[in-house]
């Protein structure tokens, strides 16, 4: 059992002169699940990218603490799995090749069998040898899930988790979030009321962008 904490303190993001959010504070611990909501353009996707460590914040800070040790910025990618509409996989490779490549670049040992297991989980096993370029949008969403759970992350960041998914796909997400490792944390950014069941607490980003900067 690991212990993971995420502490967000006075987090602020601006793009050039446009304020996205400011004064964002929250804390979330192992086993907790949080919903992020807010209207279009309120900064949900931006927040998810910042917490995934791929975009820098403008002020304030956030910190993952794993078993009482601070996680360095450049190691966040090892504990985080992100599903986002902005994610694009290498479409000149097949689903299997993408995952195999990711496992190798991440330097985690995974047999072909284990990769196939994940492909089965997301329902792409039959199409594993087709180029991602030929995938439908729902299938592309499914392969994003495969790449997000490949390394068994402690932190799951889901931006618009059920977009493009059919009933079967939504059930998969339900199960994934429901059965997610008990020591992990899940953040879900969404405006779909049917996704609100994924978390216990809700943060509305609309309340964080009217704070004026001096």
């Amino acid at each position: 059992m690991n212990k993971i904490d995420l502490i967000v303190t006075n987090l602020k993001k601006t793009f050039n002169r446009r304020l996205v959010f400011d004064g964002l504070n929250f804390e979330i611990k192992s086993g907790e699940k949080l919903i992020i909501t807010g209207k279009n353009g309120s900064g949900k996707s931006t927040l998810m990218k910042i917490l995934a460590g791929v975009l820098t914040e403008s002020a304030g800070f956030f910190q993952y603490i794993l078993n009482d040790k601070k996680v360095d910025r450049e190691n966040i990618y090892q504990i985080v799995g992100l599903v986002s509409p902005y994610l694009v996989l290498y479409d000149e490779f097949t689903a299997f090749e993408n995952l195999k490549l990711f496992a190798r670049i991440r330097n985690i040992k995974m047999s072909d069998e284990e990769i196939n297991q994940i492909l089965k989980k997301v329902g792409l096993f039959d199409r594993r040898n087709d180029l991602v370029r030929t995938y439908s949008s729902g299938m592309k969403q499914r392969i994003k899930y495969a790449s997000a759970i490949l390394h068994n992350p402690l932190v799951l960041l889901l931006d618009e988790p059920t977009s493009n998914l059919d009933l079967d796909g939504k059930n998969f997400v339900d199960e994934l979030v429901e059965d997610f490792r008990s020591d992990g944390i899940v953040l879900v950014a969404t405006n779909e009321s049917q996704d609100f069941k994924y978390g216990q607490n809700i943060i509305n980003l609309d309340n964080f962008h009217n704070i004026q900067v001096k």
């Binding site: 820098t56 450049e74 694009v88 490549l101 190798r104 670049i105 991440r106």
Partner: protein, 220 residues
């Protein structure tokens, strides 16, 4: 180390399938070399002009091919997944390795074409030329990689590359031309000791500075 290799491997397999860079590069080299060939006709230019023309072709082919590494990730939107699976240093070094292999490949072709097509392109001190070739390719790959990273984040990708690359690569190209001239005249390597020192410092500075700033560029 393995991570770096697999990022290189990803780009390499991708290049084999998509030919982002290699087609542009080979076309450029063929066009440039045949233009020089035809414009010279049966006349012979002074020997040292060939040294200059050699590195000019190398410079512009680096320009047309090496920026693809980052620009194609950014254009296709795949830089997000890349930054989710690896830390910035491995990404930079993986891309650098890819550009290094590419520039070695393309420069070997250019060298062979020059030796085959221009009788005056005669290297008398191979030791000196090969050392310059090695250090030069390293420097070109390092600076092209970091410049490509910078422009991939800019809005005007196409035009910005030569503009940024020219001043950065100029000192390198000048040293390389000097050493090549000297190698063609058959002078001993000690004659261009100072130029070699500049080359080595350039390479060391370029690669260290790149590693230091890449993190900031990559995460916006």
């Amino acid at each position: 180390m393995k991570k770096i290799y697999y990022i290189f491997y990803k780009d390499f397999s991708s290049e084999l399938r998509m030919r982002f860079a290699i087609n542009a590069l080979i076309m450029f080299v063929i066009v440039a070399v045949s233009t020089i060939l035809f414009s010279l006709g049966s006349e012979n230019a002074p020997q040292n002009v060939y040294a200059g023309m050699f590195w000019v072709v190398v410079f512009f082919s680096a320009m047309s091919g090496l920026s693809r590494t980052f620009v194609s990730e950014e254009e296709r939107g795949t830089s997000l997944i890349l930054s989710l699976i690896a830390n910035p240093i491995s990404i930079f070094l993986g891309k650098f390795l890819f550009n290094l292999v590419l520039i070695f490949f393309i420069n070997s072709i250019i060298t062979m074409l020059y030796m085959f097509l221009f009788q005056e392109f005669l290297i008398k001190n191979w030791m000196s030329f090969l050392l310059a070739f090695l250090l030069g390719n390293f420097g070109i790959a390092a600076s092209s990689t970091i410049i490509a990273a910078i422009i991939s984040k800019a809005n005007v990708k196409g035009t910005l590359y030569p503009v940024l690359a020219f001043p950065v690569l100029l000192p390198l190209i000048l040293m390389l031309i000097e050493i090549t001239k000297s190698a063609m005249e058959g002078n001993p390597i000690n004659d261009v000791e100072a130029e070699f020192l500049v080359l080595v410092s350039y390479d060391v500075i370029m690669i260290t500075a790149s590693i230091l700033v890449f993190d900031i560029i990559w995460r916006d």
